[in-house]
Subunit: 334 residues, 2 copies
């Protein structure tokens, strides 16, 4: 075919926060398309915090070693198909990785629902981040009207969905986000009742003031000191969803960080759920059917932060880890 | 009546492990019995680890200040009654405290079920410790046959009940206890499959070896390093019951100890329950009805460690905190 692939590889395992020198963008031969396989031209790549865990070997979805391709979910178009279920031109979702072309088996590919108006939503509110928010909030925490729901990283992809879903269920939502612009967005666009700035020096007191009846649901995407603060403010019968540890992703050693004292959870008679979104793959359709009408009617929305070109993917990823990007980070693969 | 009361008071709030000088045993006037009230001659006093929290002001059941009476559950005999529901001679359970006589309102007193063969069981396997074990294991953790259940302080009052109930439900039970004698007892008398000595230097490796398929249920009565070890060995879908923090009761400052990293609970998709036994008071009858036949038939048993006389109660309590007593610690009030 004369075409070549473009890939982003891990050059070196970072210690602490990565920089662009830890990644390399290289031209490679197009992979061969075997029997029953499909060649996909990736168009959109999702960048997500969990990828930091993969390049340290700390994430259960897989490890990326130096010299290997970065992993990630993609939307693409079928370029060549050796399987009867797929035709060239089909728009599909797969774990295509940080590259222009990938080759997949049929069972690794999903065709996009026809009624999705904006395809990249399948990587954000209607994709894995949306499913994460939905599974933790709806299926695990089971919010009741009037519950106080607290979520940090409230304007991130998962957090945005949590805020909006909780508001639609009649909850009082207290967000925590990094900086005035994000806090303003959480309130005016997502509907949060209050949004605290995670950098404000009186964050602990502000969280107490914001939750006079305590916290009924704390959805944890960050770990660290904010998990500790929230655990101290739980109401009796609270639910805590443990889902992500952004604060921990760049740590330099291999000792996992400590957690809050169990005494807070005992006093609150809390129920604490560990959430791994992969466990809910078989309920993805149920989630999409529940949320697609909300997305199409504009009741569930997501801000997008688009990075153009694989050559800029590493910088976009570092911005994501730093909190410098705002919205769902997507790479438009050229 | 000419009678006098005998009481154990807190002399001084201890820092770290208490000693007997922190307590004083004093003779005081008999309390007046008001209208609708009942005078009870206490016979058995239950000593329990949670009392350490009360004298530091860290327990939700109440704080004991210097100069005040120590709190605790008692069995006694009605000596004088100004309420029609109670007659002198009735055997009753109440929160009588560390004293020979107490005065209570009718709603603070329970008459013992007639079919209890051994009255002090109402302070142990059929009382609050038994209810704690039952609520956490049966109602929260919901064991399935074949589950691996781990419990530390396995020969303590709550732990003994957990081991025996879990075995009767077809679970594999791994106990942790302090010293060879307690470990032997956990296996030969309570039915644990394995019991590890918490002092053994290879405890971490031994726990891994003892749970080749991981831990399905960890019932935490101790907190600290053993909670951390167990959290690392959880099987997918594990349940963790957070109930006590013996390892923490004697700490010298007011900063609660840290907990295990949330990452272990995420990886295991664990459900973690904070347990406060008072929440299950309204289900006490259901628990007693389930366990009384097991107790009366000898299938559920408890070793008792009896301390004679209120003058020796403080020493008995310190032995309990040190792990030097073995079995349910009861004070026989003379």
């Amino acid at each position: 075919m004369g075409l070549q692939n473009l890939q982003v590889l891990l050059r070196e395992t970072p210690t602490g926060l990565p920089d662009t020198a830890h990644f390399s963008c290289v031209t490679t031969p197009l992979p061969a398309v075997g029997e029953g396989q499909v060649l996909i031209r990736n168009i959109w790549l999702s960048l997500d915090p969990y990828m930091r865990g993969q390049i340290s070997g700390r994430h259960l979805s897989g490890r990326v070693q130096p010299g290997e391709l970065l992993l990630g979910e993609t939307l693409g178009i079928v370029a060549q198909s050796n399987h009867s279920a797929f035709q060239p031109g089909d728009l599909v979702r797969t774990m295509g990785g940080w590259q222009r072309y990938c080759v997949k088996r049929a069972d690794e590919i999903s065709v996009l629902p026809l009624d999705v108006k904006h395809a990249p939503h399948m990587l954000s509110i209607l994709g894995m981040p949306g499913l994460t928010a939905y599974a933790g909030l709806i299926w695990q925490a089971q919010p009741q009207p009037g519950d106080t729901v607290v979520v940090a990283a409230a304007t991130g992809t998962v957090g945005s969905v949590i805020v909006q879903l909780a508001k639609q269920l009649g909850c009082r939502v207290v967000g925590i986000a990094g900086g005035a612009e994000k806090c303003h967005y959480a309130i005016t666009e997502l509907g949060a009742d209050i949004c605290l700035d995670r950098h404000q020096p009186d964050l602990a007191d502000a969280l107490v003031d914001a939750c006079p009846k305590g916290i009924n649901i704390y959805f944890d995407l960050v770990g660290g000191p904010i998990l500790e603060l929230a655990s101290k403010q739980l109401a009796i019968g609270a639910r805590v969803i443990l889902c992500g540890l952004i604060s921990d992703y760049n740590r330099v050693d291999n000792t996992p960080p400590v957690g809050p004292s169990p005494v807070y959870w005992i006093l609150a008679r809390a129920t604490v759920y560990g959430l791994v979104v992969y466990d809910y793959e078989q309920r993805r359709e149920e989630f999409v059917q529940a949320c697609l009408p909300l997305v199409n009617s504009g009741k569930l929305k997501i801000k997008e932060h688009i990075v153009y070109g694989l050559a800029n993917a590493a910088a976009g990823f570092i911005d994501l880890l730093n909190g410098n990007s705002f919205g769902k980070v997507l790479v438009k693969i050229e």
